[in-house]
């Protein structure tokens, strides 16, 4: 089934992003990349697993705004 294959692909991407975030930890300036990686993971779970991709545009925009608030907020306070 196509949806199962897509889920597996996203699972692999999420695993990879998590490990990249951990391995680059400690490198100077990596904090910004880690925050960005987390936001990408956040949106990937929302769009693929929670199926926001099938939802009304309002929820897609709201999801994007939440990820943006996270990135901007953490970077300002970093």
């Amino acid at each position: 089934m196509k949806e199962l294959r897509t889920n597996k692909l996203f699972w692999g991407i999420l695993m990879g992003l998590t490990l990249i975030g951990v391995f680059i930890n400690g490198i100077q300036g990596a904090g910004y990349i880690i925050v960005l990686i987390s936001a990408i993971k956040f949106l990937s779970v929302l769009f693929q697993f929670v199926e926001t991709k099938k939802a009304h545009v309002f929820w897609k925009v709201t999801s994007g705004i939440l990820a943006l608030i996270f990135i901007v907020g953490v970077i300002i306070l970093y």
């Binding site: 998590t18 951990v22 956040f42 779970v45 929670v50 099938k54 953490v74």
Partner: protein, 195 residues
């Protein structure tokens, strides 16, 4: 076509996947935890030295393994719904059971981590870092615990054929709740364990 499928085709603002109620809960929960993240970052700026010291004391292995476990659990939950939509209740039941087991694994790992922290005397009142650490991870732990109960109930429901391709809205809402636990962890993990 099932009733649930037609809802998707309408893609109404009032019918996001899982239903509007669970989505409102999810949005409020995420915003609340985002508040926690910002408070943590604010105090980190005030006492950079102490926060850097304690942040280095945190073993990122615990957090990393738990992140991988929770993401895998979410993946199984998503697959369970895919199977249920095509009326493969056996497949759905199997996947939701895996999601459940990985949820229990997350709680077990977290419990061991809590035990070690408490043995080291790093309780909630130790300092601001650990007050925020316990508050954020503790509330998240309670959410996952509730989610495990919810998934157990859904697993039994699928086994008893209560849910099918014609009626899976409860399972879908439970899945959204479960992914919410995943989303919250994705936001708090890098703040507490990495940066």
């Amino acid at each position: 076509m099932s009733e649930n499928e037609s809802v998707y085709e309408d893609s109404s603002v009032f019918y996001p996947p899982g239903g509007i109620l669970i989505w409102l809960i999810m949005m409020v929960e995420i915003m609340t935890f985002l508040g926690g993240v910002f408070i943590f970052m604010y105090y980190r700026n005030i006492d950079t030295e102490a926060f850097s010291f304690y942040s280095n004391q945190m073993n990122p292995l615990w957090g990393t393994v738990n992140t991988l476990v929770l993401i895998t659990s979410g993946y199984f939950m998503a697959n369970s719904l895919v199977k249920l939509r095509v009326d493969d209740t056996r497949g759905a039941s199997r996947y939701i059971l895996w999601a459940l087991l990985f949820g229990v694994l997350f709680l077990s790992i977290k419990t061991v981590e809590y035990y070690l922290k408490l043995n080291e005397g790093l309780g909630m009142g130790y300092d601001t870092f650990f007050t925020l650490y316990w508050l954020m991870t503790g509330f998240h732990f309670i959410h996952v615990l509730f989610g495990v109960g919810l998934l157990s109930y859904m697993h039994i429901g699928i086994k008893r054929k209560k849910y099918s391709a014609e009626d899976f809205s409860d399972v879908e809402a439970s899945g959204t709740y479960w992914h919410m636990c995943d989303l919250i962890w994705i936001l708090i993990f890098p703040i507490l364990y990495l940066i």
